[in-house]
């Protein structure tokens, strides 16, 4: 019995001294929580902060068909983000729980002013998950996107999740987690990029007017914590090539007769090799990828060695152009969102301080050489176009 008493006392002490009292007092039934899935930050009038928290609306539909998937949002304003978050509790019927926040949206206006204050709030909050994904909303407020993009069938968070599932099919954008963004913000010479979404009128039949779809169109490039510019789709894919984030994608080429051919990237990777040569910084970007022929718009048989060699060169040129454009823009804007600095530091650790002090001057002058190597691997079992004339067959 004495041992039980000692054990109980020890565990009680651990509980009392380790902050677990907070846990014990933190009891809340799950159905009494407002489980936030999408946390949106905007700027309110007079420079105040506005937050919009969105969860799934689980109320039963009129037809008694069970829980619908529409979103339920609560908006709050305050002098600061923290103030706005606390103000929520004055009128929200449930306790806010940010532990399931999967998407964090920033309106374009606050992205241009700087998102660090908001990230500071998030990183200090104990409930946010560091694998939450960040997005910038192009051309409007994050709040408006949440309101417009929840359809009668899908809640905005589910729609975002579905878009994310298919990101790799085009490789024109990507996912950036809170953790990745915070790590880059910690390094003063590096710049980050966050995917941006754009609301467009819905193309889904049956939805009421005023409902919007969301398009993931590329990356929002930041310098420090401020939005610098919105990269185009082509440039964004170039960024993905540079960062070795390519899943799949389509390259539209023209064959020797001018007909369009869609090449599907089935595998791709890239490496950035930094070096110092003659006192100058050089980087070699080695890109290699494999494609399949996805579609042939014309009627010419292209399945001969010469035609395939031609297409191979064309696709390499196309990708090289994408990568060079991305590099050129980054250097022009002086935004090292490829984390080239890290690669030089890893290769030349003794020059770390030199790089960090002079990177603003060094980065725009780095000589990049892009080499692309590719292969056409498959034809999806169709080795000639179905419209090919008989004469062309076997030539």
């Amino acid at each position: 019995m004495r041992r039980y008493a000692i054990l109980t006392a020890l565990l009680a002490l651990i509980a009392a001294l380790s902050g677990c009292v907070q846990i014990a007092m933190g009891r809340a039934e799950i159905d009494k929580l407002f489980i936030v899935r999408v946390f949106s930050f905007d700027e309110a009038e007079k420079g105040k902060a506005r937050i919009t928290v969105t969860t799934k609306d689980l109320s039963t539909g009129e037809g008694g068909e069970g829980a619908t998937q529409k979103g339920e949002s609560v908006v709050s304003e305050g002098d600061t983000v923290f103030d706005a978050a606390r103000n929520l509790s004055t009128y929200a019927d449930r306790k806010l729980n940010a532990g399931h926040t999967e998407f964090i949206l920033f309106g374009e206006s606050i992205a241009r002013k700087g998102i660090l204050p908001y990230l500071d709030f998030i990183s200090r909050h104990p409930e946010f998950r560091y694998n939450a994904k960040l997005y910038v909303v192009k051309g409007g407020t994050a709040n408006s996107l949440v309101e417009k993009a929840s359809t009668s069938r899908y809640f905005v968070g589910d729609r975002l999740a579905r878009i994310e599932e298919h990101i790799g099919r085009t490789s024109i954008s990507g996912m950036v987690t809170l953790n990745e963004a915070l790590l880059i913000f910690d390094e003063r010479n590096l710049d980050t990029f966050i995917p941006y979404i754009e609301p467009v009128p819905t193309r889904v039949s049956g939805e009421k007017p005023g409902t919007y779809d969301m398009i993931l169109n590329g990356y929002a490039i930041f310098r420090e914590d401020k939005l610098l510019y919105l990269a185009s789709r082509e440039e964004s894919r170039g960024i993905n090539w540079m960062l070795n984030r390519i899943g799949s994608g389509i390259i539209v080429l023209k064959d020797q007769t001018g007909q369009e051919i869609s090449m599907v990237i089935i595998h791709g990777n890239s490496r950035i090799k930094p070096r110092i040569e003659g006192g100058e910084l050089h980087c070699t970007v080695e890109v290699s990828f494999v494609t399949n022929i996805g579609e042939i718009m014309g009627g010419t048989n292209i399945f001969d060695r010469a035609s395939l060699d031609y297409l191979t060169k064309q696709q390499e040129k196309s990708i090289k152009r994408e990568v060079e454009n991305a590099i050129r823009t980054a250097q022009e804007k002086d935004s090292d969102h490829f984390s080239i600095l890290s690669k030089f530091i890893i290769k030349y650790p003794l020059l770390r301080d030199y790089f960090q002090e002079n990177w603003q001057e060094l980065f725009p002058n780095i000589k990049f050489e892009v080499s692309v190597d590719s292969r056409i691997d498959g034809t999806f079992m169709i080795n000639e176009p179905i419209t090919a004339s008989e004469e062309a067959v076997g030539e």
Partner: protein
């Protein structure tokens, strides 16, 4: 039957053997039979045949006692009771078991255990002949330990049949059966079985010592022995394994354990019993080792599921909702819409309903036993959900908990888990995962504390020199188990070379 008091002078060892004395002790019973027999019809050699009707076989008495007494010509030479006693002692009555009794205690005990007594009053001597009537049922299949592959026989209520069944399975000359009597009133025979060249002498001595130390008036149920000889009497966890299966019992004896058989009980007891034993099923050794290992692993998992799941569910839904996958969290929230109770109360209601159903299922006669499942399924399952008393998600959790609990091969162990499941649910409801972890540490501490007949309860996971883990969470091929459990410290440590 009047209670026999040890202090009764007639029953006392010093009382002389006589038919009057035995009539004084047992004569008031309706089944008491007493008859004067004249040996070879000689009035000078009277004897009194005494037995309890129903306990003895009438045909055996006729053929083996009455017939020789009236027909055996050698009795013609007898001139008095002394000569008759001498001839009977020489085996003129055809019974395989003849005992000479010169005190009332032994005589009474023999009569009450199915012997017929022939009393010669003048010489104060009695003979008892074993003529037990067969009162036991036929050997049948075990009811609580069904196997797919394996023997179908099981113990019955008759001790001698049970020991014979063991001898039949285990023909080793070293199989030793010792017997003691327990219970002041019931005087039940208790057999201690062990394999002499394997079992550690200290273990056997300890078992005998603990059994002999029991001071009780009746041994009619298993709990009397079990409760008296276990080390930790306040633990809900069983420390003695019971089995109906003869093969399982004999396998344990061969491992170096001691077995206990009780007169009148169709279950045998194996000591020492460790946690691992309660998670092993006889079928584990009948199936191919990969299949058996998967099943064993599932059983271990199910033990933790049935133990932890309600507490874990309360913890994560009341304290740590961020631990749930988002979609699951929303499903639970949706399922709880309209339920007025907090999660802990909801779980408690269902756990209680589940316990009630189990208890009702055990008590109800088999013919109406199915009613319980219908009532349970409809009332608790459907109606309670529709009435918004409980949520479907919680019903599912308790159903999984119950099903996982049914995988436990030992009912005593399963009962202990049921108790601890409730304790952990309470811990979880107070401080969430911290409380649950505290409860689990407490349980682990409790297990670590138990030592059963000198063997750690968590053997072979703890304090095992040879790390004999071949037959634990997974059941490796039998050829890897070359040694007997080292914790039993058996005389012959090797199973095979």
């Amino acid at each position: 039957m009047p209670a026999i008091n040890e202090e009764d002078s007639l029953y006392n060892k010093t009382a002389n053997v006589s038919s009057d004395n035995i009539r004084s002790i047992l004569g008031s019973n309706a089944d008491y039979v007493s008859r004067v027999i004249l040996v070879r019809d000689k009035p000078e050699i009277p004897s009194v045949l005494v037995y309890m009707d129903g306990l003895v076989d009438g045909k055996l008495i006729n053929d083996n006692i009455l017939k020789p007494l009236s027909q055996e010509e050698q009795f013609d030479s007898c001139s008095g009771e002394e000569d008759a006693v001498r001839l009977i002692s020489m085996g003129k009555i055809y019974s395989s078991s003849i005992k000479v009794r010169t005190n009332m205690k032994d005589l009474t005990d023999d009569i009450l255990t199915g012997s017929a007594a022939l009393i010669f009053n003048d010489v104060k001597t009695a003979f008892t002949f074993e003529a037990k009537a067969s009162l036991s049922r036929a050997i049948s299949e075990p009811t609580g330990e069904n196997v797919i592959k394996g023997a179908k026989d099981s113990f019955i209520e008759d001790l001698r049949t049970n020991t014979a069944l063991c001898r039949k399975k285990l023909t080793s000359p070293y199989l030793t059966i010792e017997q003691i009597r327990l219970g002041k009133q019931t005087k039940s025979n208790i057999a201690i079985l062990y394999v002499k060249n394997i079992a550690k002498s200290k273990l056997i001595d300890e078992v005998k010592q603990r059994l002999e130390a029991i001071d009780i008036d009746r041994v009619l149920d298993a709990g009397v022995i079990e409760g008296a000889i276990v080390d930790d009497k306040y633990s809900a966890f069983p420390q003695i394994q019971y089995t109906e299966r003869i093969d399982r019992f004999c396998a344990s004896l061969v491992e170096g354990r001691a077995g206990i058989l009780i007169e009148g009980l169709p279950t045998a007891y194996i000591v020492p019993g460790t946690l691992l034993q309660f998670l092993q099923a006889p079928d584990d050794y009948s199936f191919q080792f990969i299949i058996a290992s998967i099943v064993r692993f599932i059983r271990f998992m199910s033990m933790f599921i049935t133990l932890i799941l309600p507490g874990f569910y309360i913890s994560i839904t009341s304290f740590h909702p961020e631990m749930l996958p988002a979609e699951l969290a929303f499903s639970i929230v949706a399922s709880r819409v309209g339920v007025p109770f907090p999660m802990f109360v909801e779980v408690l209601i269902l756990l209680l309903a589940f316990e009630l159903l189990i208890e009702a299922g055990v008590r109800l006669p088999k013919v109406i036993g199915q009613t319980v499942s219908i009532v349970g399924g409809l009332v608790v399952g459907q109606a309670a959900v529709e009435a918004k008393l409980v949520s479907p998600a919680t019903v599912m959790i308790i159903a999984i908990t119950a099903i996982a609990g049914f995988l436990m091969p030992n009912q005593d162990f399963s009962n202990a888990i049921r108790l601890w499941r409730l304790i952990l649910a309470i811990f979880g409801s107070i401080t969430g995962m911290f409380g649950l972890t505290f409860g689990l540490i407490f349980l682990l501490y409790h297990w670590c504390r138990i030592e059963t007949f000198g063997v750690p309860y968590l053997d072979p996971f703890v304090a095992n020199e040879d790390e004999q883990l071949q037959d634990t969470i997974f059941r490796l091929p039998l050829f890897t188990m070359k040694k007997r459990p080292s914790s039993l410290d058996s005389k012959n440590k090797k199973r095979m070379e």
